[in-house]
Symmetry: C2
Subunit: 260 residues, 2 copies
């Protein structure tokens, strides 16, 4: 079992270290992660410039690789042969904040897992639903242990290479996490606002600011599970086709043809 660990917060992030350490209990781990933060960077394939990869070590002294590419580039590099040994599973995280609802297409953590599946390898994204105002002393231990249990369970059940899971863990001590729930994506409520400022030369610039997003904690959704103290496991797929809307379009088309 050869597991690639990556993330979108960069190679020095404590969430990456915690995840890599737990994954080592399951199999051989390679770490190839971005050399900087790529939060909300989306699903990137860098083709306009070449990518660099540097050898480095994690804080526990284990070897790792850092790239100047996006999280999805790190996965592509590894799967396309930068890491010569075949990769059986890609895990991404642990992101310090939850990736829920509409977050998934923005999230570097989740798009790294998407890249794995496109490359024919199962991918699982792990995020911790911790508050924004915590310092660096955030405890990734419970989430990392949850990650190991979930991966062990997946391996036990057999892991098709189309598996793409988005896992969010409540920020609770081990004993207060109630279990896990299979969920669908819920409704993210962004509260972005444009913050117009002027530079010292009087020219405007704009921050995408506003309040921290919320979500609708409906039962059966990722938001709902976290709100009740459960780990949320949302299976995702890359076929974004809206099949209901497709049926409506087919009705239109028939109508058009009758009226030619």
């Amino acid at each position: 079992m050869h597991i690639l660990v990556t993330n979108d917060d960069g190679i020095t992030a404590p969430g990456l270290l915690a995840l890599a350490q737990e994954m080592r209990k399951i199999g051989k781990v390679s770490v190839l992660a971005p050399d900087r933060n790529w939060s909300a960077s989306g699903h990137v394939k860098t083709m306009h410039r070449p990518l660099r990869v540097k050898r480095t070590v994690l804080a526990d002294g284990t070897p790792a690789f850092a790239s100047d590419g996006a999280p999805s580039d790190c996965v592509a590099l590894a799967l396309l042969g930068y890491l010569p040994e075949r990769i059986d599973l890609v895990v991404s995280g642990i992101n310090p904040y939850a990736n829920l609802g509409h977050d998934v297409t923005y999230s570097g953590t989740v798009t790294a897992a998407m890249e794995a599946v496109i490359g024919g390898v199962p991918g699982v994204a792990f995020s911790l639903d911790s508050p924004e105002n915590l310092g660096p002393e955030r405890d990734y231990g419970p989430a990392a242990r949850v990650a190991r249990k979930i991966i062990e369970r997946l391996l036990h059940n057999g892991l098709p290479n189309t598996t793409l899971l988005n896992v969010n863990v409540p920020y609770l001590p081990d004993e207060r996490i109630k279990g896990w729930m299979p969920t669908r994506l819920g409704l993210r409520v962004y509260r972005d606002a444009l913050d117009r400022r002027e530079d010292p030369r009087g020219r405007p610039y704009f921050w995408i600011g506003g309040d921290v997003p919320t979500g609708v904690p409906e039962a059966g959704t990722d938001f709902g599970a976290l709100a009740e103290g459960y780990v949320s496991i949302t299976p995702l797929k890359l076929d974004l086709t809206d099949y209901q809307a497709l049926e409506r379009l087919q009705v239109w088309q028939n109508h058009d043809e009758e009226n030619v």
Copy 2:
């Protein structure tokens, strides 16, 4: 009718101009697009740096705005109030190359339309299935006219703010385009390969290279429609939940609970 036109190739791209000119026949058009190419840049929300917006003009002398943000940032800027007048529709493109199958989460053209829907405004992405080896003399006329007809048809049918369409137009003269087909996303076949090189100082760098991707031209898919000379219209949704896999996870969960 106030239509925002954006793209991922940058404000000077001829496909943007062609689209803006046709959209002006339908309503008031505002153009806010990136100041550079953002192909395969994914769904971005730029939060780590502020964004700049410059007034400029398109090649036909009409006013436009160029931002140093990603395509999705341009949409966010406009919807969050950089453009004071309410936006009724976001159109993105015309991308010179098709955006099919797995391309949609990478594509700046498509993620701009996603950002619109997240912001509560319908979004339509337009791409032209033209060969890579054409020069800048690519003819966007037929695709731009198709775009206008599709938008007019959408407006005639009423356009819910959840509408997210991915439109791909074959690279054919008007009279050889057979019509349009509602489609599902098909299977993209990437043929990426890692191209290792050494810089003048002997240090390696890596291009994500390889051959141009292909796809499976199955009937009913976007690839299939284009292969037959039809415009492909694929309705997309932002709920990526894999509901079939969700049922399987629920079975697991019940099994876990029985064996506690």
